[in-house]
């Protein structure tokens, strides 16, 4: 379960990206990420260099495929292995719509890659970039290149040059906090407490992960500084403190706290250290989720006899019920705050829904639980299955193109937002 080959994440090692050329506008933007399920765009990857470059090419290929919008052309069908400026004929012939020409290699422990991206249909260059990073983190170049290609053709932020925090079952009854690259290629445990560690939540600046741990015997809140591994106690009251959620400005943390068996929602001010109670209800109130504009908190309440999603102002006023099924939990705001994902449970059937906040319409997206939005709001990561079959998946917000990220017995994924 250790971090493979010492690969680290974007938050620890920074990638140097030099933009040599970027087309004005997006040229012909022919990928509409809002209408998936259409024809996949064909990409020819012409990447040359040492074995490290081959490895990076594999990562680029995998991540482009995970986007669910691209189809990578088999290099065996290439007519030529060279690209001469202005000559798109051979590439059009094999059906390529995007051509990526790159060469890379490792020198003095540093991996560098120069890449040019062409719109084959239009016959023009879209992007030219040079990436360099410590050799052991070279996979990040592949992730970043895939993200840049995605951005160049959709106008949206990429999703793979990031990291997802989650809770992972390492042994029966034991869960630790870990981080995984969104393409599943690297995974690393951040805690080794031999306890139950749950509900990781990235701080908006991506520096901290707030989480719940039982390491003192009952549920308390902790803060973990990701770059150093340093852990601070955030709250260790008698009773259970769970489910932290950051305010978008990073100054407050909503969580649920139960002293005599009934959890209610509280907010801790991280500057003054003062904690105030937000809900007072004899039924369960838990799972707070702060809206991206900071003006609302969605949460789960059992006040009408079963768990449903509610919404309120951060001062506890205007508590309103949002969902009316038999059982709904796990509210998760889209990064723009226009949608709310949640999970319904009916018998053994567990479904992820997305509620449009403007229209109030809700639709089933996919079978699964623990939804978590990509920072660009176009994808959802989620878990499905139980025990050894449990797997982390990625899908578009419409539930199209479900792809497997990694088999992992875990819960509570939380995507680090872009900076």
């Amino acid at each position: 379960m250790r971090n493979i080959n010492g690969k680290l994440f974007g938050l620890i090692l920074t990638i140097l990206v030099a933009t040599l050329f970027s087309a004005q506008g997006y040229g012909k933007v022919y990928i509409d990420v809002t209408s998936p399920g259409g024809k996949l765009v064909s990409v020819a990857l012409l990447m040359k260099g040492d074995p490290d470059t081959k490895r990076v090419q594999e990562v680029t290929k995998k991540d482009l495929e995970l986007y669910g919008l691209f189809k990578i052309i088999d290099p065996k069908t290439f007519i030529t292995n060279r690209f001469e400026n202005g000559n798109f004929k051979d590439w059009r012939f094999i059906g390529a719509e995007i051509l990526v020409v790159a060469h890379g290699g490792t020198r003095n422990g540093k991996f560098s890659l120069s890449a040019r991206v062409f719109d084959v249909v239009e016959g023009k260059e879209i992007l030219a970039r040079k990436y360099s990073i410590k050799r052991e983190a070279k996979d990040l170049v592949g992730m970043r290149l895939a993200d840049d290609i995605f951005t160049a053709f959709t106008g949206e932020e990429g999703i793979f040059y990031s990291s997802v925090a989650l809770s992972v079952r390492t042994r029966p009854g034991i869960k630790e906090i870990g981080i995984i690259s969104p393409d599943g290629s690297s995974f690393q445990l951040l805690t080794h407490d031999n306890s139950i560690n749950l509900c990781p939540s990235w701080s908006p600046d991506g520096r901290w992960i707030a989480y719940t741990s039982f390491k003192r015997g009952e549920a308390d809140l902790y803060l973990l500084e990701v770059a150093t591994g340093r852990v601070k106690v955030l709250s260790k009251k008698k009773g259970a403190e769970i489910s932290p959620s950051w305010s978008p400005d990073g100054t407050q943390l909503a969580f649920s706290y139960s002293l005599n068996g009934n959890s209610d929602i509280y907010i801790k001010d991280l500057i003054t250290g003062y904690t105030k109670r937000i809900t007072r209800n004899p039924a369960i109130d838990t799972s707070p989720a702060w809206s991206p504009d900071g003006r609302k908190i969605a949460f789960v309440s059992r006040r009408s006899g079963a768990p449903h999603i509610y919404i309120m102002n951060p001062d506890g006023s205007e508590q309103t019920r949002l969902t009316f099924g038999p059982y709904e939990v796990s509210p998760a705001w889209s990064p723009k705050g226009d949608k709310l994902a949640y999970v319904s449970v009916e018998g053994g059937k567990i479904l992820i829904h997305v509620l449009d906040m403007k229209s109030g319409n809700s639709k089933v997206v996919v079978e699964g639980e623990d939804p978590c939005w990509s920072p660009n709001g176009r994808y959802l990561m989620f878990f499905k299955g139980e025990g050894p079959r449990r797997t982390l998946y990625l899908t578009t917000e419409d539930g199209n193109g479900i792809v497997k990220v990694r088999r992992l017995n875990g819960s509570d994924p939380c995507w680090r937002s872009l900076q």
Partner: protein, 219 residues
Amino acid sequence: MKRVAMAAVLVLAGLFMVSCECTTGTCPAKKQIPGYVKAGEKQGMQVAPKPQKSEAKVVEAPTTGKTPYQLSQEELERQRMEAERRRLEAQKAKEAEAKAEELQRLMELVHKDIHFAFDSYTLSEEAKEILGAVAEYLHQHPNLSIRIEGNCDERGSTRYNLALGEKRANAAKEYLGYLGIDPSRIDTVSYGEEKPLCTEHTEECWAKNRRDHIVIIGE
């Protein structure tokens, strides 16, 4: 348990010393102690056909010089004290073991889990019966405290299930309070869906996992 182990080490060490002495050729200690014992033996072995000279000498020793006799007395006293100490320690260890066994037996008695329906923390009649037995046991053992651990099946979110487990543990605590048990003797914790008893994904298994588990945490 530590004491028992220490006593065992002492006994072994003693044996080791004795055997050491036996291997050394001259063995001055051997001359004294066996000599004393043999003096006693001699009384019952009058018929010994041909007592050796050296033996006669040893027999004489107590009467002629006092020192060896006194040393033997002291040694004997020390040995008796040592034996008594060991006996007391063994007794203590035995008592502790019996106590632990009794505790274990009682734990099993009240170890019956309380089960709940899906998304419910209402106590069933069966649950109340089990809690009745627990209350009786706690009345009989006023020094003991318990911890009630609330658990859920795997359906629903980890967060909601942690909150639901709190409700389940507290429902049992409240009922015990109603039966006259001081709440300060009852600790509660919820493990949500994190500690399943049964790991299959069937209704039968889920039913086993929706439970309050009671643990005796001692005096």
